[in-house]
């Protein structure tokens, strides 16, 4: 099963896998950041006083959460370039990694929309009222009182979302992006043995996810000072 392990387990191959892991981490990190922006916008739409914005927010969340990420990646990879080519009249191709970041950001945005919305709704209504009686505007209240408290609540689920994104970044191997999963596959093809590179890839995934969990726990403890 691990017949080629001694051949695969070399510094060069480890470096190759580490590079793949870094690409996975980078794509997941970037998608999380952009997804958070989408999440703030989505949550603002969902809690806004405008019916249309609330409807748009709901459609976004339901459509994205109700369809598989692989399908979203495929649509962006195949359909988006055709649409742009059709509109502009010039051949348009998208880089694999860009497709990955776009698809994963949109997907993550839908989940973080719900995380942020529930974080904001979870803050005691009395905090809004206290600010209101002190004469603060809705925006001042949101920025200085509600969001900082909501932020503390959403740190743990956002970390879970980051971990999910790291694992889901393996999906973009389907469109040819060379991240950790593809790197393992390349080594497997090279040595005609897949068990060792896949197990090593699993170790790299675990190193990333466990480190993030550890950092998140420390951050949570730091934020808990005022609890």
């Amino acid at each position: 099963m691990f017949s080629a392990f001694h051949k695969i387990f070399t510094p060069e191959n480890m470096l190759y896998l580490a590079k793949g892991a870094l690409i996975s981490l980078g794509i997941a990190g970037l998608s999380l950041l952009i997804g958070l922006v989408f999440g703030v916008l989505g949550a603002s739409a969902k809690i806004s006083r405008s019916k249309i914005l609330r409807l748009l927010g709901n459609i976004y969340v339901e459509v994205i959460r109700g369809t598989p990420m692989l399908l979203q990646i495929m649509i962006i990879f195949n359909v988006l370039p055709i649409m742009v080519t059709h509109i502009t009249g010039q051949v348009f191709r998208l880089n694999y990694y860009v497709v990955g970041v776009i698809a994963m950001s949109i997907n993550s945005g839908a989940y973080t929309t719900e995380l942020i919305r529930s974080g904001i709704n979870g803050v005691d209504k009395g905090q809004w009222e206290a600010c209101e009686t002190l004469g603060m505007s809705r925006w001042q209240t949101m920025k200085l009182v509600i969001l900082p408290q909501a932020f503390k609540r959403i740190v743990p689920p956002v970390v879970s979302e980051f971990i999910t994104l790291i694992k889901d970044s393996s999906l973009i191997s389907c469109i040819g992006a060379v991240e950790l999963m593809t790197s393992a596959k390349v080594l497997g093809n090279q040595y005609y043995e897949f068990m060792s590179p896949y197990c090593l890839a699993a170790v790299f995934y675990l190193i990333m996810t466990l480190s993030i969990s550890y950092i998140a726990k420390r951050l949570e403890r730091k934020l808990a000072v005022s609890d």
Binding site: G126, E129, A130, E132, T133, L134, G135, P148, K152
Partner: protein, 242 residues
């Protein structure tokens, strides 16, 4: 100073406040009392604007307190401080920051001035030594004194108290009442929703007794407690003055 005319506030089909009118003069201390669900807190919240009455009008200093006239509304609201039953301090900020936030954001005071004013009020409520603590490190009584100081930092002319001692352990009640008593002595206009009959009797100038969203009896404190007119007030006092 405050004039409430025939306000009605409904929650779904229930009339929590049903045709209430009252007047509060400058420097007066008026206590709203009554059984739970009588609408006393809702009246207080309507006065501040936390609840919008469906009918009736409220005047502050002879000016209509109307949300549609935003500037006027904000200017009139800034004359009122509000103290909640559950304090509603900002848990992610130190005591000092709790007191300076609105001063800086709303009154546009410099951080230095805001801190100076905050420290003055913290000293008045006896909590200057707690200025760097977070609210979770304070007792209920201390939290409520900080909440009072936070309101006072905004220089209100009227203080509205919504059951300020109801969420406190019995031994914490006195420290909050003492602060309120001090304010009363200084001539602050106060409207207090309370179950503290001792406070209403000794500190309050006037008592308004409500039931089912209506004013049942209104009188000066001494007369109300010694010679209540209505049967309902007599029964209520018999139950609470055990």
């Amino acid at each position: 100073m405050i004039k409430v005319e025939h306000i009605v506030k409904k929650f779904n089909d229930l009339k929590a406040v049903n045709d209430v009118s009252l007047e509060i003069k400058k420097g007066e201390i008026v206590c709203l009392i009554g059984p739970s669900g009588s609408g006393k807190s809702t009246v207080l919240r309507c006065i501040n604007g936390l609840e919008k009455p469906e009918e009736g009008s409220i005047y502050i200093d002879h000016e209509l307190y109307d949300e549609n006239d935003k500037d006027k509304y904000n200017q009139l609201r800034s004359k009122m401080g509000f103290v909640f039953q559950h304090f509603h301090l900002f848990p992610h900020m130190s005591v000092l920051k709790n007191l300076t936030l609105a001063q800086i954001q709303v009154k546009k005071r410099s951080e230095e001035d805001a801190e100076k004013i905050a420290c003055q009020y913290l000293e008045r409520v006896g909590l200057l030594d707690k200025k760097d603590e977070y609210p979770n490190k304070l007792s209920g009584g201390q939290k409520q004194r900080v909440a009072i100081a936070r309101s006072l930092c905004m220089n209100p002319e009227i203080m509205l108290f919504d059951e300020p001692t109801s969420a406190l352990d019995p031994e914490m009640v006195i420290e909050v009442l003492e602060v309120m008593q001090e304010l009363a002595k200084e001539g602050m206009t106060m409207v207090v929703v309370t179950h503290e009959m001792g406070f209403a009797r000794t500190v309050g100038d006037r008592v308004i007794f409500l039931e089912d969203g209506r004013i049942v009896e209104e009188n000066d404190s001494e007369t109300f407690f010694s010679h209540p007119k209505t049967e309902r007030a007599k029964e209520f006092l018999r139950k609470v003055m055990h």
